[in-house]
């Protein structure tokens, strides 16, 4: 059975199914659909909905609620992520789970409110001071909106950290067909609450990569939440012997468990020399590219990166294997391709970029590996991307 839905509807449904019981947000196109769906759904699930006075308040409410053991979500677009930035660092530092949906639009600044772009992909990784790891997932279909929203909650709770669902206008605002049988519902992961009241410390780790058991604000065990560098008791401390391990812990609890986060969908074709590496809406388009190309008899592989950050190195290395050429289409000036070039310096990488608000068409990708005319003529915007890198194989 098929349904005709927006990504916004599906993300909201998935959030409720994941146990989300707190939503705070501020209206911003193209993320408003999520706000509008949540205001209808969450009170029925006996959860809290509040429209903040701005984005800073919205994420602040979520952080306060998370400290009480609730499962909060907020949704915004690039300008809102700018305002979330400091509080994202706080959620990392205070180890508070939180799901942030970033429905990207054209930037910089106010940019184009109803215009497609995926220009926040490096921004969302390096969004806050210190550069501690962010977990970022990116769906390519409405069915994946459902699964990855639940995954985002699960990873946030598992690692006690903010997790971003990175999408764009194309998937969230527009309606498309979902095959109901393809909605995958991961089992729900709950936060690990402390069972040892006598020895409880709010930020207790033995090994640096441990995730400290949690006690909620307002519960029977007194706890401390602290945005400043703190000791295991949650009290302010700048002692190098405390701060060093505490901050390394924030990184290692994620980087040492990347296997739990990696999500790469591989569609590798035997004998293909070209592989497309894509995420988000370009992952979506690339699915059509592969089908069209194969119908024309061409060989091509596809790696869809659903866990954009941390970079799923293992999964990518496995799919890229012996392919010679890596095509990286992106709705920005070439951001994630930097990671691909870092990982695969000996391969030919072909960035395909577009920042005019239009989606890159399947044909614009195909002409980079099936030469239908002697001189493929990419558009002005495409050419900009190719020349900048100087790594085009053709």
């Amino acid at each position: 059975m098929l349904e005709f839905v927006t990504g916004a509807e599906v993300i909201a449904r998935a959030a409720i199914d994941a146990g989300c019981n707190f939503f705070a947000g501020y209206p911003i196109t193209p993320a408003t659909g999520i706000l509008l769906n949540m205001v209808r759904l969450i009170p029925k699930a006996r959860g809290v909905f509040i429209q903040g006075e701005d984005e800073i308040a919205s994420i602040g409410f979520c952080i306060g609620a998370s400290s009480c053991g609730m499962k909060p979500m907020t949704a915004t677009s690039g300008p809102g992520i700018s305002l979330y930035s400091e509080n994202i660092g706080f959620a990392q530092m205070a180890e508070l789970p939180l799901v942030i949906v970033n429905v990207q639009r054209m930037g910089p600044a106010t940019g184009g409110a109803t215009t497609n772009a995926e220009g926040d992909i490096q921004f969302i990784r390096w969004v806050t001071s210190g550069g501690y790891p962010m977990i970022v997932l990116s769906p390519t279909t409405v069915e994946e909106c459902y699964e990855l929203t639940i995954d985002a909650f699960n990873l946030a709770e598992r690692f006690r950290t903010p997790v971003v669902l990175s999408t764009c206008k194309d998937l969230v605002m527009n309606r498309s067909t979902a095959d109901i049988s393809r909605y995958k519902r991961p089992s729900i992961v709950e936060r690990k609450f402390t069972t040892d009241a006598a020895n409880f410390l709010p930020y207790n780790y033995t090994k640096l990569d441990d995730v400290p058991p949690f006690a909620p604000i307002g519960g029977d065990i007194l706890t401390r939440v602290n945005t400043s560098t703190h000791n295991k008791e949650g009290r302010l401390s700048k002692d190098p012997e405390i701060a060093g391990p505490a901050l390394t812990h924030l990184s290692e609890k994620i980087t040492k468990h990347i296997d739990e986060i990696e999500r790469v969908e591989a569609d590798v074709q035997d004998g293909a020399e070209t592989i497309i590496v894509a995420y988000g809406s370009m992952g979506r388009t690339s699915r059509d590219v592969v089908e069209m190309a194969r119908r024309k008899g061409a060989k091509v592989s596809l790696a869809i990166v659903k866990s954009v950050w941390p970079v799923p190195e293992k999964g990518l290395k496995k799919c890229i294997g012996n392919h010679k050429k890596i095509i990286v289409p992106e709705l920005n000036l070439g951001q994630y391709v930097l990671e691909i070039q870092r990982l695969f310096p000996d391969k030919t990488t072909v960035p395909i970029n577009r920042v005019d608000g239009k989606l890159i068409t399947p044909e614009e990708i195909i002409e980079n590996f099936i030469h239908t005319s002697p001189n493929p003529s990419p558009s002005t915007f495409l050419r900009a991307g190719l020349q900048r890198r100087g790594r085009s194989s053709s």
Partner: protein, 440 residues
């Protein structure tokens, strides 16, 4: 009951600083109301007073500068039974003023205690929103040329339900704090005090100068407002059902009809004006596709204003999953207004005799190589209006092309819940059949 742990004292504040007096008073006020430490939450942010949390044996939450109001509101929204109080400085009330006025406006039952010493202590004596005019700080070395906030007036103007101003030297500070803690709603207490590190030496300010400053500035002391009004977090819960309800199940559509599209895509651009129900008609069209087991995508474009300008929808249909939703050259273009023509001129120029254009008769200046069909909106016998013309255009397209049986579309229209809209659409559907077969 001790809320401040005596073993952790003395406080870390500068000699003579009055922060400690206020903290002790908070301890006594909590004791007075019999607060359960496990149900008590101290929220602080940046500034000297933000050093206080570690001295308290209650739940503590130390956050970003000026944002303590938002965390406290989040905690209270999550768990309304908690006693949540914010310790903030005049600096925090400046940077977080927006949150202060909105927490007050909403009447979220947090208690805000402002440690107001007219300057930033932690960063070294810069001016704040409460620095008196002519007051010297390290960022107003010649004297402050700005006028200060009366924080109580700010909260009063925001409809805060409990507002008080005291000084750190008032013998009855504990009484006022206890009243604030007992208030079922938002409470704000501006506690005026002295900064011995910066504001006093820079201004030759003495303890006695505080009274003069209050008088000169016309600041009112005491409880300025104490009003009973429904507390926000409790109010919000009144709308909750008794039992938790999950999200609605996906509204799946069975394929009841057979599509004529066997492979590839069929793309249609629907162009009209705002107020002409273009987006709704397009969604109904796509759903008709689902009624035939087709996959569909819809992309809409319209200005941010309503009831003015163009409205454009693009529908792609295919027997297989569609990922890329863009349309470079549609198979059909349906134009029902001059606005619609304006935004589809580029599309129009790419059409050949293999494509179809359906237009309303009133549209002028449409030139194309495509096959053109017309609907006369003025023909009264058709019963068409701006609100249903696009539905008629879709029905006509289906009758001409056989991409799907028109009944698949009619079934969607018949399921429209609102009677008036349903009838309007079915009338348009029937009109389209009349256009093709004028005899009936």
């Amino acid at each position: 009951m001790k809320y401040v742990n005596p073993d952790r004292k003395p406080y870390p504040f500068c000699p003579g600083c009055t922060h400690g007096i206020i903290l002790d008073s908070i301890n006594d006020a909590l004791d007075r109301i019999g607060a359960d430490p496990k149900k008590t939450v101290l929220v602080s942010d940046i500034g000297c007073v933000g050093l206080a949390d570690k001295y308290f044996d209650v739940h503590t939450f130390h956050g970003l500068h000026g944002r303590s109001f938002t965390y406290a509101c989040g905690v209270k929204l999550a768990n309304p039974e908690l006693q949540v109080f914010v310790l903030v400085g005049d600096g925090g009330c400046g940077i977080g003023g927006h949150h202060l006025i909105n927490a007050a406006r909403r009447n979220i039952g947090i208690k805000v205690i402002c440690f107001d010493n007219f300057n930033f202590g932690m960063t070294g004596g810069e001016h704040s929103v409460t620095t008196p005019t002519r007051g010297k700080t390290h960022t107003t070395p010649e004297g402050n040329i700005e006028r200060p906030f009366d924080l109580c007036n700010l909260v009063l103007a925001s409809n805060g339900t409990f507002v008080a101003r005291k000084t750190a030297f008032d013998k009855d500070l504990t009484d006022t704090l206890a009243s604030a803690f007992g208030h079922d709603g938002f409470a704000f207490i501006d506690v005026l005090e002295i900064c011995t590190a910066y504001y006093m030496p820079l201004n030759e300010f003495k303890k006695s100068s505080l009274d003069k400053m209050i008088e000169d500035s016309g600041l009112k002391l005491g409880i300025l407002k104490d009003e009973k009004l429904f507390e926000y977090c409790a109010n919000l819960r009144r709308a909750w059902p008794e039992k938790k309800l999950g999200p609605p199940a996906p509204k799946g559509m069975e394929a009841k009809f057979k599509s004529g599209i066997r492979e590839g895509y069929y793309s249609v651009v629907l162009a009209g004006s705002a107020g002409m129900k273009i987006v709704s008609a397009a969604t109904n069209f796509a759903r008709a596709g689902l009624n035939c087991g087709l996959y569909a995508t819809q992309q809409d474009d319209y200005p941010v204003t309503v009831q003015t300008g163009h409205s454009l929808s693009e529908i792609r249909l295919s027997p297989h999953q569609i990922h890329y939703a863009g349309i470079d050259r549609p198979d059909a273009l349906l134009v029902v207004s001059q606005d619609g023509l304006r935004v589809s001129k580029k599309t129009l120029s790419g059409l050949t005799e293999n494509q179809i254009v359906i237009k309303t008769k009133d549209i002028e200046g449409l030139e194309t190589r495509a096959r053109v069909y017309e609907i006369d909106m003025q023909d009264r016998s058709l019963g068409l209006s701006k609100a249903n013309i696009m539905t008629a255009a879709i029905a006509l397209l289906l009758s001409i092309t056989k991409i799907m049986p028109p009944e698949a579309f009619k079934a969607v229209l018949e399921a429209i819940p609102k009677e008036k809209i349903r009838e309007e659409n079915i009338r348009a559907f029937d009109a389209a059949l009349k256009i093709l077969n004028p005899k009936h």
